[in-house]
């Protein structure tokens, strides 16, 4: 079967890959592009570990075909820090211990950033519902929710 040649933009840089029609964007990112920071937890859109931004929308990369990224922009956890400078959410997650095993963390960070990009003053309820698609089994969510809200407060103050 013919592979598709896809040209796309990943974390601000033009990228090309070959992919089979049934391969998901998650498969492609991990296996073809070598960006393994995006995690697979379920491959059915139920856990959010594979969250990425596709043309500015938060999506589960397991529910996007690799071929669909043609001509689009993809943002993953590997592009979240600005060189050596962590994104304020990444820094806050470290300071407030908002991760334990760290496996859900890339997806949570991508999703939280998507929220703060459109709403820098979310309520606790808004944060909880926004992140309802990002399962975390370690933290009970408490420190994640606090870290997101504290980051938003810092961003408003800045």
């Amino acid at each position: 079967m013919a592979k598709h040649h896809i040209t796309t933009t990943i974390n601000g840089e033009e990228a090309e890959y070959l992919c089979e029609p049934q391969e998901t964007l998650l498969d492609v990112l991990r296996d073809e592009v070598g960006l393994t920071g995006t995690k697979e937890g379920c491959s059915s859109g139920d856990c959010g570990a594979c969250s990425v931004m596709l043309d500015g929308r938060l999506v589960c990369s397991c529910l996007v075909l690799g071929v669909e990224a043609q001509g689009k922009t993809v943002e993953t956890i590997e592009g979240m820090a600005d060189g050596e400078v962590l994104h304020p959410l990444q820094q806050k997650f470290l300071e407030e211990a908002a991760l334990q095993c760290g496996y859900c963390t890339p997806g949570v960070l991508i999703a939280a950033k998507a929220l703060l990009d459109i709403n820098n003053d979310p309520t606790e309820t808004e944060v909880r519902y926004w992140l309802a698609g990002n399962l975390c089994r370690c933290t009970g969510y408490d420190k994640i929710i606090r870290a997101v809200m504290d980051t938003a407060a810092d961003m408003r103050g800045a």
Binding site: M1, C60, L65, A132
Partner: protein, 288 residues
């Protein structure tokens, strides 16, 4: 699982041809949130997947004299961001927005939810209660169909070979009209509805209900439109007595099954609870 082709046509005609040529072996990719799960689980093995997102007629939400035309590839998130649509049809929008997580909302479409034909589809009861129609395109041109006529049973729809849904249309509505959709899930998010209930109604100037439609989801192989519940609302001020009658009628109309998500007894009772609660919310919205 292999040998699958992927096509992303730019026009309705191209898409129709691809679908028709595949003779039933094609699947449409709009939001993909059901399609990719089914592919991965090996439930389907299509010869070709046709992405309709490059077809401009499937894009955007167009408002026209109070009516709305929602493209087949419009996501739940886009609907929620449309202030006019959300104000006019809050129940339709909340139904669409209840499908999955924020991530799913960035992809999932109402048209896909409709054609996937799950009895528990969250966006369908409110669409039917709203009297929505859709434009179906196919080898014989296009036709307008009531959304209620699209699902024919669990996982089955009435679309013919080569056909697909291009858009969904919501009618203009009078003043003092609104709608609401509620569903019961064990958690607060991320579940399939055990019961869903949508109510669309119109009040007159002094708050008396003049038109109503009550539709249940997940309590039968298809949605159930409960005429007795609507009748209980029409002519009432949507007071406690009317709401109790709505609950009784909804429970009486429900024909659920026992499965891993709920029992017959539970679904029957909760169909009534949610229908009456949705009616109260719709009325409150219509009054304000």
């Amino acid at each position: 699982m292999s040998g699958m082709r992927y096509e992303a046509p730019n026009s309705v005609d191209e898409a129709v041809k691809l679908l028709a040529d595949a003779n039933g072996a094609a699947r449409i990719l709009a939001g993909g949130t059901d399609l990719l799960v089914q592919l991965r689980a090996g439930m389907i093995d299509p010869g070709v997947v046709v992405n309709i997102k490059n077809i401009s007629e499937t894009h955007g939400i167009a408002a026209d004299g109070g009516a709305f035309c929602i493209g087949a590839t419009v996501s739940g998130a886009e609907m929620g961001e449309d202030a006019a649509l959300s104000a006019a049809w809050p129940g339709v929008v909340e139904g669409a927005e209840l499908i999955g997580s924020t991530q799913i909302q960035g992809r999932a479409t109402m048209a896909g939810n409709l054609c996937n034909a799950s009895p528990a589809a969250d966006s369908v009861p409110a669409l039917i209660a709203a009297g929505a129609t859709c434009t179906v395109v196919g080898p014989d041109g296009q036709r307008e169909v009531s959304v209620a006529d699209i699902p024919t049973g669990p996982g089955q729809n009435s679309l013919g070979n080569g056909e697909f849904v291009l858009n969904i249309k919501l009618p203009a509505r009078p003043a003092n009209a609104s709608d609401a959709y509620l569903r019961m899930i064990p958690r607060t998010e991320m579940d399939i509805a055990i019961v869903g209930a949508a109510v669309n109604l119109v009040l007159d100037g002094d708050g008396t209900c003049t038109e109503a439609c009550v539709v249940l989801g997940a309590v039968g192989p298809k949605t159930i439109t409960v005429a007795d519940a609507a009748a209980a609302l029409v002519g009432s001020k949507v007071d406690e007595a009317a709401l109790a009658a709505v609950a009784a009628a909804a429970s009486a109309a429900a024909t659920p099954i026992d499965d891993k998500r709920g029992t017959v007894a539970y679904r029957t009772k909760v169909a009534g609870v949610l229908a009456s609660r949705a009616a109260a919310i719709a009325a409150e919205r219509a009054r304000s």
